[in-house]
Symmetry: C2
């Protein structure tokens, strides 16, 4: 039988990836790369928010950073056209 590979981001680490395979374990390298890039962005946003906002907890800073990093493409468009950012959420709530 052939050998198959599974990929994960070192930013998640093997333990976490094995505990959360549906989100952190990938059959192809490109998806793992994409997650790794998203996590890198999230780490930078976390540092940025903690440096700018006094008293923001690590947990909240991490959740804010991840929420933005996971919606990177939407955020890119929204920085140019702010009304886009919450359009989907507003549509769902109607």
């Amino acid at each position: 039988m052939a050998v198959k590979a599974l990929y994960f981001s070192e930013r998640d680490g093997q333990d976490m990836a094995l505990k959360n395979p549906e989100k952190m374990l990938f059959a192809n390298k490109a998806d793992a790369d994409a997650r790794d890039k998203m996590l890198e962005l999230s780490e930078e946003i976390l540092m940025f928010l903690k440096s700018k906002v006094d008293g923001l907890s690590e947990e909240h800073a991490e959740q804010c950073a991840l929420a933005i990093a996971e919606e990177r493409d939407l955020f890119l468009r929204a920085l140019k056209k702010p009304s886009l950012l919450n359009q989907e959420a507003e549509a769902e709530s109607e």
Copy 2:
């Protein structure tokens, strides 16, 4: 004598603008427009973060949103190249 105009964003409101003239009162319309656009972006980011992060206080959500909106151009670049986001802060701390 000629009449001169002062401009402020309605998102700040007249009272706040008069209390914080150096930040919210402008001799030219373009600067007031720029502030208004930044505040619009900040409001959208505030709504986005509050919808995504449970328990995030209004104050922290507002400070995170404003920090991002005030660094809009840097954020645009950082979404494509994350390491840019904290470069200035790191350079200052060296």
